[in-house]
């Protein structure tokens, strides 16, 4: 069968994947603390090279062609988003490196800690500091929930220390995770961090800004171009496929003609 079909199809699938990732970036162009994803692709080696079957006979020309394209792991770009002042005392933005810790339900009824750069918080009826997105508790440096007195002014310092009436009452967990590639998006503007990567966590070097939020770090122009260029790549690969179709057709009708 014509090898080019498969290469063309891999091009279509990879470009559609890139478009999906870019579409999600664009949909989150106003989501607080959102970080842009890159839908990466890698060239695929010919079957003999990929499978390490070097002693099998092969067609050198075909091998040089490669075998199309594969999807690579999605990369998240941890660029700083714009700091927007909101004037709400329980909004915080992070300038520079660092994440806040949020508790939540994990697999099988366990509790887990997720990390976020979305610092929109509020108090629940018991005075616990929670995230506005779903009411999960925002944690302190010891991973405990934080209880505040709602009647008093809340001041949050650059290092995450929360003061009420001039007294230090709690301190937000504010950590940086060195191995950024291990962070996995979990929805609700949060990241899952595997235990191995958590070992590399260190106190954050960035600073916390009160009464502000970090806007989405998506560059809308780049995201739009990615959506459009992926659409063009799909058409191009599809065009290649129909050309191969045409060739096959001609081979059948002309080469194979007897008289």
């Amino acid at each position: 069968m014509n090898y080019g079909y498969a290469i063309g199809a891999s091009g279509v699938l990879a470009a559609m994947h890139r478009q999906d990732v870019a579409a999600n970036n664009l949909a989150n162009v106003t989501t607080t603390g959102f970080k842009m994803d890159l839908g990466a692709t890698v060239p695929r080696e010919a079957a003999r090279v990929e499978d390490g079957l070097y002693n099998l006979p092969s067609n050198k020309l075909l091998e040089r062609l490669g075998a199309g394209v594969l999807l690579a792991p999605t990369r998240t770009v941890f660029e700083q988003g714009p700091i927007e002042t909101t004037g709400k005392p329980l909004d915080v933005a992070i300038r520079g490196d660092g994440f806040l810790a949020v508790g939540g339900a994990g697999v099988g009824g366990t509790q887990t800690v997720r990390y976020t750069r979305d610092g929109r918080m509020t108090l629940d009826p018991r005075g616990t500091l929670v995230s506005v997105t779903d009411g999960s508790p925002v944690l302190d440096a010891q991973n405990n929930a934080i209880r505040l007195d709602p009647g008093q002014k809340i001041a949050i310092d650059g290092d995450g220390t929360i003061r009420q009436g001039g007294r230090e009452v709690a301190r937000l967990a504010f950590v940086d995770i060195a191995d950024r590639t291990a962070l996995r998006k979990a929805g609700a503007n949060r990241f899952d961090v595997p235990a191995a990567a958590l070992a590399s966590s260190a106190p954050a070097r960035g600073s916390i800004v009160q009464e502000a939020i970090e806007g989405s770090a998506v560059d809308p122009i780049r995201a739009m171009m990615a959506v459009q260029s992926a659409a063009n790549a799909v058409s191009a690969s599809l065009r290649m496929m129909s050309m191969h179709d045409e060739l096959t057709g001609r081979a059948i009708s002309q080469l194979g003609r007897i008289s």
Partner: protein
């Protein structure tokens, strides 16, 4: 696959549409006394894992998984901004709360289970029975049940919310009752009833009542009312931003549609 980009873009458009609704309501209430602006909070949706065996990262080592595709965005909720509006010179019976606190207003049980609603719009008036009411078309009574009848020369409300009545020809002021304020652990959990009123909910917690000037309660300033805290400039900037983001998501739909059409035309 292109179906996912269609859905992401659609989720973006519907969330941005909600954000636009919220902004429009804020702008419409730019002159409403005691109005509190809201904002729509966004969060990204779940991610699907698109794993493919033998995927390599840039360091050329293999990862069994790690290919994530997001499914778009949603509005997680709206949140009130309870920063105070400015005091605006008003009528004799207008009051402005300098600091925390809400006035308590009687409403039908159907509107608020506790029978009480809360407001910061301190535009007060007397009804034909001499009761202290909100100067709205509903004329709702304050829950403190203050009635001022007889011959009145002047009414004064002091900073602690005590109502004092000056009778003609009497030098001493007569005590007319006490305004009680209410506060909430989580005012962001209040639900809006319209008419500048809020109702307490499980999320806001029960009201904490007290006199103005005590504990965490603000003091009362007579002769002023509270303006809307909507900042038109911020709202208009947000509107532009939301509208453009909306347009960009509609472009994604067009691009995804293009892809699907090309695929459909592969075999003619």
């Amino acid at each position: 696959m292109a179906i996912i980009s269609l859905q992401s873009a659609a989720s973006g458009m519907s969330a941005l549409n909600t954000a636009l609704d919220v902004i429009a309501n804020n702008l419409a209430n730019v002159n409403t006394a005691g109005f509190k602006a809201s904002r729509a909070n966004f969060q990204d949706l779940l991610y699907i894992e698109r794993s493919q065996p033998g995927v390599r990262n840039a360091n050329d080592d293999q990862r069994p998984t790690g290919l994530q595709v997001g499914l778009g965005v949603k509005v997680s909720g709206t949140e009130y901004d309870f920063t105070a509006g400015n005091p605006i010179k008003g009528n004799k019976l207008d009051i402005y709360i300098q600091g925390n606190g809400f006035l308590r207003v009687q409403v039908e049980d159907a509107r608020s289970p506790s029978g009480t609603a809360y407001t910061r719009a301190g535009q007060l008036a007397l009804n034909s029975d001499g009761e202290l009411v909100l100067a709205t078309d509903q004329g709702r009574r304050l829950a403190d049940g203050i009635t001022i009848d007889g011959d009145v020369e002047d009414i004064q409300i002091d900073s602690s919310g005590r109502v004092l009545i000056k009778r003609p020809g009497v030098a001493e002021l007569e005590d007319g009752g006490q305004l009680t304020l209410a506060n909430f652990v989580n005012p962001w959990g209040l639900s809006s009833l319209g008419e500048n009123l809020f109702a307490d909910t499980d999320a806001s917690g029960p009201p904490i009542e007290g006199e103005a000037g005590t504990d965490s309660f603000g003091t009362i300033l007579q002769g002023y009312y509270e303006s809307s805290n909507v900042d038109p400039t911020t709202e208009l900037i947000n509107m532009i931003r939301v509208q453009r983001a909306f347009e960009m998501n509609s472009n994604t739909i067009r691009a995804a549609d293009e892809v699907l059409r090309s695929v459909a035309q592969l075999r003619r």
